[in-house]
């Protein structure tokens, strides 16, 4: 996975560095003065989120296929505890990944100053990865419900294109940006980007991010019980993968 | 009788590598030789790792041997693989080998066309087989919705789609419930009655005894016994147990056979006599011997050795 993240980050860096850039025009659209650094700071958040959606989804599908999901259901364990343990592991590993794949490119683009800004960025990300994980877990549960792995692909494509992390959403109709605000992704990416560019933790950005985090926590818990009931009623934990 | 399958000195070694380093070398077959006559059903027995699946795969042309020869209906499995494939039907896993999203009928038509049938011929043959194997009602349903037993029956239909003379079936009843397993066994008996040659591998010794004319027992890549179930039991020197409830003085009793003293379930003295020869001839001799020594026999029971005992002795002692 680390290889893949580094590959994508390197690829986006290489393309961004090699193509003819129109920084003034980009600044007018995005408010940032460097399109490459813009992507180097934000794209890993997007990639990590996609990896989480796919990894958590595949993990749950695999558990279902092996019958382990039913086994877990029968254990006297609080599901919040299981989720918490998974979240802690995934968030810690993701932070490490972010740091490892971002440092070289941020250094090349923004110099040592920008690298120093990665510290506040990591702090923001430590918080921001939680709603991203909850989102991924929610998608995994919904995949069990719709019973096709192709659902993960639909979510990944939508997250990539409509959350405005790799580029601003200015070319889309306004409702796309409004819908995107309901997802945790743009809040997390924007907070991280502000930290990388300016070395600050912007309360104005952090508050909506925390609000979305809280919202997702409540929403996930509520929807989890509903989905669990539906699964237990149907008794089918296997997802079609072909 | 002409042999349908002839295997001579078959050898196969698997080499496990990690990058370029050899991690492990496993000898799967070590000079295996046997022959199967046409129109018979033969069970290949052996514990896990004995070389059964390797033998089946070589005979199915899926695996190349390192040495030795194997011929099916006179065709060499290495040099004449295409000719072998025309005369065999192979099932490696009763649950696998089908496209889950295609219906049972579509799967059979697919394999029929691969075997060179026209689509209409493949279809009529498939319909006939599906009816014959009790899948007529399910023929237009996707296979992913079939039960294990239905998949196993469909797999038999698949191997019969081109009407082969030789069937090679690797554990055809594995994982099936008793009713489905019985159904499959009945179908296999039917195939034998049709005059086909059938080679099955199984872990189920009772099943092997029930189905097969002959057994081939493999262990650690070698044939350790071969013959009818009776011959295999005898080859391993298994003994019949003659159990006699007796009364009278057994002190110093010595017979010409191996004996053991015990207490029966009813609390009476129990004399166990172990014999290797046919009990129908020996039991009267034992009775008259006991009578001549003043021992009264209250009841007699003879317990036949099972194939399982033969198998455990053969494999455990190997």
């Amino acid at each position: 996975m680390a290889v893949l993240l580094a590959f994508f980050q390197g690829l986006f860096f290489l393309i961004g560095t090699l193509v003819r850039r129109e920084q003034e025009l980009f600044a007018r659209i995005s408010g940032y003065n460097d399109s490459v650094l813009y992507q180097m700071a934000g794209v890993p958040v997007l990639l990590l989120s996609l990896v989480m959606v796919s990894a958590v989804g595949e993990y749950v599908i695999e558990l279902g296929r092996r019958g382990a999901l039913e086994h877990i259901q029968t254990l006297p364990v609080d599901m919040k505890l299981v989720m918490g343990a998974h979240a802690t592991t995934i968030v810690s590993v993701s932070l490490l990944y972010y740091f490892a794949v971002t440092v070289p490119f941020v250094y090349l683009r923004g110099g040592p100053g920008a690298v120093a800004h990665l510290l506040p960025a990591m702090l923001v990300l430590a918080l921001g990865l939680l709603p991203l994980f909850l989102f991924a877990a929610l998608v995994a549960l919904l995949t069990l419900l719709v019973r096709t792995e192709a659902f993960l692909e639909l979510v990944s494509a939508s997250v990539y294109t409509f959350t405005g992390i790799a580029y601003p959403l200015t070319v889309f109709p306004q409702f796309v940006a409004l819908v995107a605000q309901l997802l945790p992704h743009p809040h997390v990416a924007e907070s991280v980007r502000l930290a990388v560019f300016y070395g600050v933790l912007e309360p104005a950005r952090l508050v909506p991010m925390l609000a979305v985090l809280a919202g997702y926590a409540v929403f996930s818990t509520a929807i989890y019980s509903r989905i669990e009931r539906v699964l237990r009623r149907g008794g089918r934990y296997e997802v079609v993968t072909e | 009788m002409v042999a349908a399958i002839e295997v001579e000195g078959l050898r196969k070694t698997y080499v496990e590598r990690r990058l370029w380093r050899v991690k492990r070398v496993v000898t799967a077959l070590d000079s295996v030789t046997f022959a199967i006559e046409r129109g018979t059903m033969v069970a290949l027995l052996g514990p896990n790792g004995a070389g059964k699946s390797t033998t089946v795969r070589i005979l199915s042309t899926l695996l190349l041997p390192d040495g030795g020869t194997a011929r099916v209906m006179g065709h060499d499995v290495v040099k004449e693989a295409s000719s072998v494939r025309r005369v065999i039907g192979v099932m490696l896993d009763p649950e696998k080998g089908h496209f889950g999203r295609l219906t049972g009928l579509e799967n059979l038509v697919f394999y029929g066309v691969l075997h060179g049938l026209t689509r209409s011929d493949a279809r009529s043959r498939a319909v006939e087989l599906l009816e014959q194997f009790g899948l007529g009602d399910a023929r237009d349903r996707p296979v992913e919705g079939y039960s294990k037993g239905m998949k196993a029956r469909l797999a038999i239909c698949r191997v019969l789609i081109h009407d082969p003379e030789v069937l090679i079936l690797d554990e055809p009843t594995a994982g099936l419930d008793p009713i489905s397993a019985r159904e499959v066994r009945e179908r296999l008996k039917g195939l034998k009655r049709e005059g086909r040659t059938v080679l099955v591998t199984t872990h189920n010794l009772w099943e092997a005894e029930e189905l097969s004319d002959r057994l081939i027992v493999l262990n650690r890549g070698r044939v350790i016994a071969e013959g009818t179930p009776e011959e295999v039991k005898r080859a391993f020197g298994l003994m019949w147990n003659v159990e006699l409830e007796v009364s009278g003085n057994l002190e110093g009793l010595k017979l010409g056979w191996e004996t053991e003293l015990g207490i029966s379930e009813r609390g009476r003295p129990l004399l166990k006599v172990m014999i290797r020869e046919d009990p129908s001839e020996l039991v009267p001799l034992i009775l008259s011997e006991l009578r001549s020594r003043g021992v009264q026999v209250l009841s007699v029971s003879v317990r036949e050795p099972t194939l399982e005992e033969a198998f455990v002795r053969a494999v455990g002692g190997a």
Partner: protein
Amino acid sequence: MRSSRSDLWAGLWAFSRLLLRSPWFAVGLVTAPVWSIGIGLTFAIHSPSLLSDQGSLRALSLGAGYFVVTSIVLWNVGHFLRQVREEGVLHSVIVAGGRVELLMLSRGITALPYTALAMALSYSAMVSLLGSSPVLVDPAGAVIAFLLLHALLVSVSLLAGSAFLWIRRPWLVTNLLQFLLPLSSGMVPIELFPEPIRSVVSASPVAHLFELLRRTVTGTESIPLADAQLFLSASLSVVSLLALSMVAMRLSTERMRRTGA
């Protein structure tokens, strides 16, 4: 009597049904334009004026469609061999005397309507979203160019697919290939790159193939070569890759028989 035609026919008949019944087909057609817009914008954002120039926008949109089609073929055809091996179908096919390379080729052929639809949707959606209208300058030429492009992608997928039987993380290779292949053949308009890169890309036969498609669809030119030269170079590369992929499939099947894997 069985023949190569029966292998191809059996594959076409079964795989077209499989494709139509797979949820991936419908989902793939929905996500194709979504991915192409996302990937296109990711590269275009460095030069936003690209999006206001009709020709460049169409070329970029077609390039993004090329990325999506590459991805579809790699996952749909490249991973199929491994998938059928896991499902036990491959063994049954070999025992039935089926030629694996021909069956896989039929899998590639059945994917053609899927990729054509995905390309059309991706190209039109991105061009339309950005306020322009999709054009098709030379329909007959575009069909020929797309057929060649599809054949090339199938060949690469079959080559990769025969390797996927033996490597531990085929998804990793697929992820790399689905970006590297389109990017190295001019998915992002090469006018945006400095001269040395432009020269390298212009010399690639795979880039010639995409250039042929771009010319016939959008009418824009990036590589200074005549149509006939592009066609010849593209056809040669497709034929040689296809032949190579057939040999690779054969070798892979033989290796399976040798090792029992």
